[in-house]
Subunit: 503 residues, 2 copies
């Protein structure tokens, strides 16, 4: 068996823990400011995390500064697990979520930006803990941007591996140190956008605490809210919802494009094929949803009293239908999972449409989960060309994307990814149903967990939460979240014999 450089792996875990502990201390400051009684628990969690981080770094001193592909997969997967294990400490030690299963679920749901929650009453949780909850989203979103744009392409994984050649540094076996350059710029943009949304939400009338939390939840396409009714809480303040709509759209866009736009180059947006289809998909689905909601569904009547506080029809039926249609389409396509209304009561057609939408995913290089639009574009183009190939078996008919030829290897990889995604989805549904969960709920839980969406169908519809799942169901859901978030291959490759075999 080939030797792994475990020292560098542990060293990197140590760095992650220090980083995570630092963020916990920020939540500590929030607790101190609000005097919400969670301070001791958070400080203990932060201290413990920092301590273990320091121990790990010391214990692995003198590690070989060379990381290979295989270690790369382990670092990414173990990184997310390490973050989730330590990130659960503030919940447990503050007493906000005493159960380890529940706390781990909430944390993994945070870092994977899924936003599924086991909390029955969010509004009684100390503010600093809610802030920590949003922070896990924000860190997870940050992590995924860097991962998608800078690291996964080098590992030959993810929708963006076709841009591997354009990634900084030679796309060899080793990870290039220059990725930190790219990372810094993207973080800066991510931070700026979060700040901008928070300021706009505050100006639109949201309280500043809610504004900051929802901004962190939006840019990461996470979906945790500080309100039990999620964004339906502001159904009588359309401006707030339109601001969130705008930033969900941005969060579902490739951050590389937004970076160029930020530098004044808006042409990159218009020239990008994935952006074009992302835009077309959102517009088309919104038109369909609006028409059906307006004519066939009631947007004002909700099954639970949670929504009674809201007055969705501020500007009338049509505006309300449009807003909720657009909001929920973006919430599901960008996999943010915010809730302005319950899409499962919007006619059987929209229910099926929203289920299918869970398999779309927004842009590669965004914080969105799911399959991603670029993969669908390439698969559908290839599907059409397969007809041409049937008629002209000797002709070479390559797929073109963004005016370039996509190599057969990449098309192969994308199709294999999609099929693997569906197999994991099918097995995921089966395992849920094994716990006695009905068909719609099982299928929805698997699709939503794997796609990092959050709300699902049946017992896990947008007006419910995941607290009703049996403990094993919660663990299974976190497994699917992790697999989906890390583009399947990163996690599953570790379970193949090839990974552990020597060269």
């Amino acid at each position: 068996m080939r030797k792994f450089n475990f020292k560098i792996i542990l060293q990197l875990m140590g760095i992650l823990l220090l980083f995570n502990g630092g963020f916990m201390l920020v939540s500590g400051l929030v607790s101190w400011y609000f005097n919400d009684g969670a301070l001791n628990g958070i400080l203990l969690a932060g201290g413990l995390t920092v301590f273990i981080g320091i121990v790990l770094r010391f214990a692995t001193k003198g590690f070989e500064k060379k990381i290979k592909k295989r270690e790369g997969y382990l670092v990414v997967t173990l990184g997310w697990v390490t973050m989730s294990l330590s990130g659960a400490l503030p919940y447990i030690l503050s007493g906000a979520i005493p159960s380890f299963t529940d706390a781990f679920f909430e944390t993994m749901s945070g870092y994977t930006t899924t936003g599924a929650s086991i909390l029955n009453d969010i509004e009684i949780i100390p503010k600093s803990i809610l802030f920590w909850r949003s922070t896990t989203h924000w860190i997870g979103g940050m992590g995924i941007i860097v991962l998608a744009i800078a690291i996964l392409p080098l590992l030959g994984i993810g929708g963006m591996q076709m841009f591997a050649a354009e990634a900084p540094g030679p796309s060899g076996d080793k990870l290039h140190p220059r990725i930190t350059d790219t990372a810094k710029r993207l973080w800066f943009l991510y931070f700026g956008l979060t700040l901008a949304e928070a300021v706009l939400l505050k100006l639109a009338g949201m309280g500043y605490f809610d504004a900051i939390n929802h901004a962190m939840s939006t840019l990461s396409t996470g979906g945790f809210s500080t309100k039990n009714a999620s964004i339906a809480f502001w159904n009588d303040q359309p401006l707030i919802q339109y601001i969130i709509i705008f930033f969900m759209f941005i969060a579902g866009t490739n951050f590389v494009l937004s970076y160029f736009a930020f530098k004044g180059d808006f042409k990159k947006y218009t020239k990008d094929e994935e952006f074009k289809y992302y835009f077309i998909i959102i517009v088309s689905l919104t038109i369909i949803a609006t028409i059906i909601i307006y004519f066939y569904a009631s947007v004002s009547i909700h099954p639970t009293d949670i929504q009674v506080i809201a007055h969705p029809k501020v500007f009338g039926e049509l505006e309300s239908s449009f807003r909720h249609g657009l909001f929920q389409v973006l919430a599901v396509v960008t996999t943010t999972g915010f809730v302005s209304a319950d899409y499962t009561i919007w006619t059987p057609f929209l229910t099926v449409m929203f289920l299918i939408m869970m398999f779309l995913g927004a842009s590669a290089g965004s914080t969105a989960g799911g399959v991603k639009i670029v993969r669908h574009i390439i698969m559908i183009k290839n599907g059409f060309l397969e007809f041409k190939r049937s008629l002209h078996p000797n002709a070479i008919v390559p797929v073109r994307y963004n005016t370039k030829t996509v190599t057969r290897g990449i098309v192969f990889n994308i199709m294999a990814f999609f099929i693997l995604y569906l197999i994991v989805f099918a097995v995921g549904s089966l395992v849920f149903s094994l716990m006695g969960i009905d068909l719609i709920t099982s299928v929805g839980a698997a699709a939503s967990s794997l796609g990092n969406v959050g709300p699902a169908f049946g017992d896990l519809s947008p007006v419910n939460n995941y607290s009703s799942l049996p403990p094993f169901g919660k663990w299974w859901s976190t497994m699917l979240m992790l697999c989906g978030r890390l583009e399947l291959f990163t996690v599953l490759i570790i379970f193949t014999p090839y990974f552990w075999k020597s060269n």
Copy 2:
């Protein structure tokens, strides 16, 4: 635009009509024998069909005896439509099914060997019409064997194109006349197996009319029954059900393998990878189903009074659980769709399992519909190898099947087929839901129609039928049946621009 040889297409349609008319006259004999009052209608239908066939043949005399790939696709698709249009005549003209939509549905369901029915009371239908109904299955099954083994590989379509090189004659652009040789042998085997099942069923205690009809329904993996309760009618006669189980298994096996076995060469069975997995899948799923039925589901209590006539627990709970588990697993995997019990009330887990099973399909070269096991084998093998390719990007890692290397083009084609299958399934579900049909029923109707299974879920569960669908839903279902039966490409290619463009 390139010129099509429409004359040969019409000539072949003429031949099909003569052939179909001939079979109608056999049903006429049945009507005369039973004196069931349908004789005039059937003779009129048969006469009309033969007449149009003769007219078509005369009108296209002197056709060029050369058929190219493109005409091949049209012949196959139009052939199935022509058969279904003419095959609906006996239903309409005898008055058994007066509505054209319903009659066309029943006929397309027959020729595609789907076995979904709009008949609320099968047992009041004249015997000759029931015989005609079974005949459509039997002709459809016969057609599909020849298509799958001899014609589609030459068109570069279907799970068996990898054997194209082994097909009789050079696999060039033209269809080789020697395919009729293969066809004759396979028909002989098909006929012999049908006869054998009919004799065995009769010996086991079934009436000879029912025995003949069910034998035709089994070998074609069709599923039409002469009883309202389907095979649950014989729940107190396990021997009859075990005979049907055996022949469903055979019907889901590659007929080329059975042909060699018939000639004494049983090694072909054991050496074939698809057969091995087919066997393993049936055994594994049966064990799972048996255990869950035995411990968690009640096999004796049925929701409708239809099953009260049956006494399923003749040999006790365990035998009954095993028998119904095995029967329904085979009925769904082989896409026969016979019903011995309602699998949708067998716990949520088995409901999800049976839904997923609709996407399996049995062997290529059998009469079963669906995706087929060979495609799953190759996709799963390729999925595993994709991990290896990630780790060794420069290595060439081909998929091996039956000890041979599968070319990348074939793996490509199979993955594209599967993705297309899922897209058609998703669109299929959406269209059903657009008619106000609930999620489970919509999803089930699409999966079952496309996979040529028959029974589905929700309002189309095994104890229901398709009569409740709105008219457009019935047409949409026949469209899916046809697409699924003809391996998608054959039908859909006609709707692509490539097909109609000149070379």
